[in-house]
Structure formats: C-alpha cells, structure tokens
Amino acid sequence: MSPVPPVLAMEQVTQAYSHPRTALFRAPGTFTVLDCIDFHVHAGEAVGLVGESGAGKTTLTRILTGMEKPQSGRVLFEGADIWQAGPAERARFRRSVQMVLQNPRSSLDPRMKIGTALLEPMRSLRIDGNHLDRLTEVLGQVGLDTSALERFPHEFSGGQLQRIAIARALMPNPRVLVADEPVSALDVSIQAQVLNLLKDLVRDLGLSLVFIAHDLSVVAYTTHRASVIAGGRIVETGPPVELFTRPKAPQTQNLVSAVLTVNSGLSGNAL
C-alpha cells in the first residue's frame, strides 16, 4: 500500500490446531484458525485488527511476535524471515517487536517490584547501556514517576499497571508494539488514558503499532489503517473511519451494525 517496505509482515500464513480426539478409530480433525493471511505494518504506522471472538486475533499476534511458528507462510521482519534468521538477527527481532497484553493485572509478576520487572527485558535481551536513564525516560513517556520503581503491582490501579506494561514493552526501544486488546479489561474512565498514551507514543516515537480490539470505535480512534478478520481470513482493510462508515464485506457490516452508541440510543434507533 505504501512504497516503503513494511517493518513487520506476515505472508500467506496458515495456522491450524487439532481437535481433541472424539472417536476411537478416527483421526482427530483439525480446524484452521488462520487461513493464508497477509498482514503488515509500516514504520510509524498504527494498524488495527478487529474481529469477533475466536476469529484468530490472538493467534495472529502470537505468530507475528514469533511466539508460535505458523504451519505455513512466512513472517518477515525488515524483509527477512524470522524463522530462517541467524541468532543476531533473531535477537534484533526480539528487541524490536514488543507486546502489550490484555490483562494488566496478570501481565506483571505480583512478586516482582516494578523496577525489576521493567529491567527484565533489558537483562534477558542483553541490552547494554545505562538502564537507569532508560528507566526514567520510559517512565516519563508513559506518565509515571520513578517512585513507582520500588513498589509492587498490587499497589497500582489497572490503568497504571497497563501503563507500566507498556513501559516494559518500550524498554528495549522497539520498533513495533503489538497490543492485544490492551483496554478491554479496563474501566471506561481509565481506558481513555491508555488509548491516548498509545496514540502519543506512535506519534512521538515513530513506533509502529498493531492494535487489536473487538470495539470498532476504539480501533478507529487509535489507528491509521484497520483490517477485519473473520473465519481465519482478512476480509477487509482500509482507513478505519472509512471502513466503519462504508463497510463492504458482510462480516464488516455485521460488526458495524452491532455497534451501539449513546447517540443512536438517545435517538431511539439503536436496537
């Protein structure tokens, strides 16, 4: 779509799982979760992915971040297949693609101080440099101060924790941030804080963002481009507002028509 090659992409990715065995003398069946998916994100771009529950969104992020090897297809980071890459390139990939998970409370080890948790990726990925400076910098970026470092996760609210989780993802100075439903576990009044933060990060740091949600308006608010996934395939891609005001694929239409808003409710034509 754009002349610059994508930072992170997947080509023709297919992934299938096997059902548990149900009959004694029949081979267990498989079902395809992702079916020949092409997906990419450019530098500095925020890409959204929406779809019903079970559509394969989480599976896609797992493959995109290299946590799961697809059955077929390639995952490309800066043009190179990550499953064929040498150790140095793999290390670079690990540093450059980070993830924010759905549940802020469970994404931080309850027995680990925030400071330690934030330094974990640096140690694990063997990144040199002054970690303390980096800590202060990143905490500033997510709007927390260094007093957080000595505390434990249970002393924070969900929104703060999600910001800490984002800070942890930012520590290795990644190029791509993958966020799987980062706000769906948050209270309404707090989710806006996190959305604004993500948006700022893309703008200020030139990060690429892959943002997953089941709520169309949240995706529209946060991203430049969005894809709709259904039945293991990407059915439609485009600028979100465009996509949601003039959906073409029936699955997109289905999603759009399901959206409730205060205004449509007040005007009496919501249901």
Binding site: M99, D109, G158, G159, S184, A185
Partner: protein, 290 residues
C-alpha cells in the same frame, strides 16, 4: 468488557479475619512450642530418656523429679516426649521436605515441559497414589530395615505424588498468566521462567502444603512406629512410645495418654497453621479447600 479484573482485592470482613488470625495464631504457637521442645532437647533433658532406672519405674505423673512420671523401665516420660518431638520433627519435616523438593521439580516440569513430560509425570504420580502408603512403608521397612531414615523415605515416597499434583496445578495456573507470556516474549528460557516467576508464585502453595504434609508425616510415622516398623530405640518417637505403652503395661495405663495427646496437639497445631497460612499466602486456594 468486564472490568472485574481490575477491582481492588476486596478487603476481608473483619470478623472472619479475626477467626482466621486466631487459627494462625494457635497454629503458630503450637508449632513454635513443638519446635522449641525439640530444640531444647538437644541442650537439656531432665533425664536421659534411654537410661532405665528400675527402682523408679512406673511412677505416676507429678512425681518429684519426674514431671509426667516414668515408664516400665523407669525412664522419664517427659524427656522421652521431648526427644520424640525431635524425631517427629525430623521425620515429618524430612519426609515433607524431600517430597517438597522432588514434587516441586516434578510438578514444575510436568506443567512446563510439554505434553509428554506432563503425561509421564502425572501418570506416574497417579500410579504411586494408588499404592497404599502404609503397605509401601511395610514393604520398604522389610527391604531396607526399619528406622528413622526408612520412615523418612517411606513418607517422602508417599507424599511426593500428591505434592507433584498440587504443584503442577498451581504452576499451570501461574503459567497461563500474562506475565509468563511477556517473559517468553522477551526471550526468557523456560527454566528461567520457572525459577524466576513460577517458583516464587507457587511458594505460598509449597509452604502450605509443606505444613500439611509435615502434620501428615507425624501421623504416619506414629502409625508405622506403632506397628513396629518405624523408629526404633535408641531413637524415640511418640508412635514408638505408644507401641511400648501398649506392650508393657496395657492400655489401661496413662502411659498411652501422653504420646497420643502430643501427637494430636502437634498435628492439630500444624494443620491449623497450614490453614492459617493458606488464608494468608494463597487466598485462591483457601476459598476452594478450607
């Protein structure tokens, strides 16, 4: 979607917390007293518990010089109880500790190293659980001879499978937390994740289970020694004292009271401690099993 996960941990109602604290306190006091009794026995005993003094035999409790009286050979009962505490401590804690170490390693491996490891370990645990522990202990005593060490071994063989199961399920629930996914994402190897993240998070379960198996170990040891396949003199255990009490003077003697009572109190104390600790360390489990 639901924001339930971010709800602050609900504060416990006061009244119940009070009761739980009471449980914990009683358990702690009894356990400490018991450990203290065992510890003191190393430095001070009113009498040598193994040296018979025939002229002083079978004195009742409260006799001068003998707080709880003497047994059929004139050995001081209180001193024997003190040394018995030591044995119970060693056997119960030793058995539970070995089971804890092996069970933790096995349980973590089962949870973390894939289906084949899981099936192998879990099924082996199931098989071992089907073998009645008492029978194993009997056979083991015949195989390697009875004594403190055998008893510890038998107990650990007995407890390891259930320990493994508990640790496995606790580890499984930790492993599906998002922070594990996060650690995988920044390339932590599995063994590191187990040590750094899973172990500290199942430590509560481990401590609680340790306490409970400690108690169960004391009970089982008493049973084995009662059958005469457990601890033998010059070691002294409460179960062995009961065995002797029944052999020597018959059940109508108060001799059978003291060691029996000691067992009940200590086991009760340890169980209360375990339950209390569970409330503190492992609230999720507490709701399910207390």
């Amino acid at each position: 979607m639901s924001a339930a996960a971010t709800t602050p941990v609900p504060a416990r109602p006061k009244k119940r917390r009070g009761r739980r604290n009471l449980t914990l306190t009683i358990g702690l006091v009894v356990t400490i007293a018991f450990i203290a009794m065992a510890a003191v026995s190393f430095f001070y005993l009113p009498h040598n518990p193994n040296v018979p003094r025939i002229p002083d035999r079978l004195l009742p409790a409260g006799s001068p010089r003998y707080l709880l009286g003497t047994d059929a050979l004139g050995r001081d009962i209180f001193s024997q109880l003190m040394v018995g505490a030591r044995t119970s401590l060693m056997v119960g804690a030793g058995g539970a500790l070995i089971a804890l170490v092996i069970g933790t390693i096995a349980g973590l491996s089962a949870a973390a190293f894939g289906r084949i490891a899981d099936e192998t370990i879990s099924r082996s645990a199931d098989i071992m659980l089907s073998i009645p522990g008492m029978v194993t202990a009997l056979v083991l005593a015949a195989t390697i001879g009875s004594g403190t060490l055998t008893t510890i071994l038998a107990l650990s063989a007995f407890f390891t499978p259930s320990f493994t199961r508990v640790i496995r399920s606790a580890a499984l629930s930790v492993l599906q937390e998002d922070f594990i996914t996060a650690a995988r994402l920044y390339a932590r190897p599995t063994w590191f994740i187990l040590l750094r993240h899973v172990l500290p998070n199942v430590a509560g379960v481990m401590i609680v289970q340790f306490t409970l198996y400690f108690a169960a170990g004391i009970l089982t040891e008493a049973g084995l020694s009662y059958l005469g396949v457990g601890v033998t003199r010059p070691s002294i255990s409460w179960g062995m004292m009961l065995n002797e009490a029944q052999q020597q003077v018959g059940i109508s003697s108060p001799l059978a009271m003291w060691p029996g009572l000691s067992i009940v109190i200590v086991v009760l104390g340890l169980n209360l401690l375990g339950d209390g600790l569970r409330d503190v360390l492992d609230p999720k489990l507490a709701r399910r099993t207390s």
